[in-house]
Amino acid sequence: MNKKFDKNFWYVFGTSVGIIVVAVLIVMMIVDLSTTKGLTGQVIKNKDSIKLGLITPLTGDAASFGQAELDATNIAIDEINSKGGVNGRLLQLIPEDGRCNGRDATSAAQKLINIDKVRIILGGACSGETLAIAPISEPSKIILFAAFSSSPKISDAGEYIFRNSPTDNDWAPIMAETLTKQGYKKVAVVTENTDYAMGVRDIFKVKFKELGGTIVADEVYSQGSKDFRTQILKVKDGNPDVIFVNPQDDVSGALLAKQLRELGVNTPFYSAFFLSSPKAIELAGSAVEGATYLDVRDLSTNAGKALIEEYKREKGTPVSEFIIGANYDRVYIIKGALEKCSEDTTCIKNYLYTIKNYEGVIGTYGFKSNGDMDTVFLSMKRIVNGTSIVLE
């Protein structure tokens, strides 16, 4: 090797290493300052508080869910703090933006775990976030508690991972069974091209075919699209007995329902969750009249009603009552665990596995050995005269 090459190589290598070291020092200094001398007042103020991390999308397409998660979590934490906190210590929520993707979620998790030293992370929201955080939180024995992720992959992602949202495996087969029981043989599925909805679609299709039905149309639309007319036309052309409307969120579901009816498709349609959002009903109006959907069962309990009232008063119309309820419950479940175990996560983990009949605002439930909810927590509802009624 000649001298010139050597010089070049070491120049580049040396510079990169040098810059890295300098940057490390600077960041360390800043971090040190901020934690000990208090660049950010909050750190000092709540020195004795119990920190809870929250990872949820605060920007991007899914931000409206993230905001709902944050609001609902804050309501619960404020309630607990105003009643004196947990064992005399206040709860401090540190929300981080996971942007519904793996990279930002891992950055957020690394920050929460290593800088804020949280032992409990609420989140992620999108399954993609949760799946990306799991390999980081699990080895450090951090509790990861999702209230919104439904991917079946999360069930076996780790021992310290819990959720109080139904998995797609829980409810998509129920949907297929329900439709079969109602005597529907030919179904049209319209799905939004997102991780959640596509996961549901795959499970649903398998189950429905197993039960002897046929899929006459299987349409997909991309996230954020607002024009479904040709997909609907293909649905119409398949001449189904029933339509399974399978969107990611309330707004696209409502738009889809609206366009279905606008185009004169009067086939009954079934769906899940999104119709619990008042926004969906407001948007779609008469288009969702008579629609049947699977939803979380008991948000009409007193506690649930009160929560939704409070949420409406303080934060506005919720995107989904289900999300609000699950998030609210999540904080209280953690509160119970903290009261018993303080911040010993192994104790918390074991405690959470023992929970069997927790009475939350979304119902009474516990956790299975894989950290999922043990109760399939759903009931059929129908929109009648613009409000939903429970069918049993």
Binding site: F5, N8, F9, Y11, V12, F13, T15, S16, V17, I19, I20, A23, V24, V27, M28, I30, V31, D32, S34, L39, T40, G41, Q42, L58, T59, G60, A63, Q67, L70, P95, E96, D97, R99, C100, N101, G102, R103, T106, S107, Q110, K111, I113, N114, I115, K117, G128, L131, A132, P135, S151, K153, A157, N193, T194, D195, M198, G199, S222, Q223
Partner: protein, 291 residues
């Protein structure tokens, strides 16, 4: 424990600096306005994951295959767009990244579509596996240092001077008997190769990939890195990667309401980009004006 967080950030910086320097090789040193660079990153990530996970290829082989396959896509892109120039080239490459994005999203049998691919293994070499982030950081630093050194040598070689010449005057260089199309192809293939291996590093670090990591907003992120650092400046790209990755992380420590935090971060990117474009077209370390 601060170290662990810093290690995480440094791993990201290492990966993105390879991505930025490789973009700069095409954009700055060769003058190829490639807005499809993020697609190369994505192709590399998916290739590496599919080869290790579905086909059981050892990591290092998959890592190289990721680079090579991406490089083939680089050639396809440069061949397809060989007659375009200026903003039409920029648009066509942007169109290319959209096409690749739809492919990742819709070719579900291979990419699992929007569900993404979870549970990606950490790299192993002959039975020795990377067990923690510190080791991964060392691995990333070695790979980045080698990659950047190679690109540095290329840029400063007589070949690199030809690339600079084709950026400045393509016809003039052809009149000197140089096949500028081949030069551009090679430049973009090298650029794509390193973007591809950066993608592989990214996928095996995050352990979960889905198409959303390779979208339009990410194109703008790496463009910002290169432009802030300075056209045709490797040093600039590296420093700028630090700034652009770390500044938003520092924001996490300020008491900004979280509903504002996310947009604020994007606004900072956009403002930095506009300020540089408007008032300092050379970027921080560049010698060449953006034109």
């Amino acid at each position: 424990m601060i170290e662990a967080y810093l290690i995480h950030l440094l791993i990201l910086v290492g990966i993105y600096s390879v991505l930025a320097v490789s973009l700069n090789l095409a954009l700055g040193n060769t003058g190829l306005m490639n807005m499809g660079h993020i697609a190369f990153f994505g192709i590399g990530a998916y290739t590496s994951v599919i080869f290790t996970k579905d086909l059981g290829v050892p990591f290092f082989a998959a890592f190289l295959i990721a680079g090579l396959l991406t490089s083939v896509f680089g050639f396809i892109l440069v061949y397809a767009t060989r007659k375009l120039r200026g903003d039409y080239l920029a648009l066509a490459t942007l169109g290319f990244s959209f096409v690749i994005y739809s492919l990742m999203l819709n070719w579900s049998s291979v990419t699992r579509g929007p569900l993404g691919i979870p549970g990606i293994s950490k790299p192993c070499f002959f039975g020795l596996c990377i067990a923690n982030n510190l080791q991964y950081l060392i691995f990333v630093l070695i790979i980045s240092a080698i990659s950047i050194a190679i690109m540095y040598i290329i840029v400063n070689s007589s070949f690199g001077k030809l690339l600079a010449a084709t950026r400045d005057d393509d016809i003039g260089l052809r009149a000197l008997g140089k096949n500028t199309f081949m030069l551009k192809s090679k430049a973009l293939m090298i650029s794509a190769f390193f973007a591809g291996i950066a993608g592989s590093l990214f996928a095996h670090y995050i352990t979960y990939i889905d198409p959303s990591s390779f979208m339009l907003s990410e194109v703008i992120l790496i463009f910002t890195i290169v432009i802030v650092g300075g056209i045709a400046s490797i040093k600039g790209s590296i420093v700028s990667t630090f700034l652009i990755i770390l500044i938003p992380e520092l924001l996490r420590f300020l008491n900004i309401p979280s509903s504002v935090l996310g947009p604020a971060r994007q606004i900072i990117y956009a403002l930095i980009l506009l300020v540089i474009v408007l008032w300092r077209p050379k970027g921080l370390f560049g010698k060449i004006d953006l034109e």
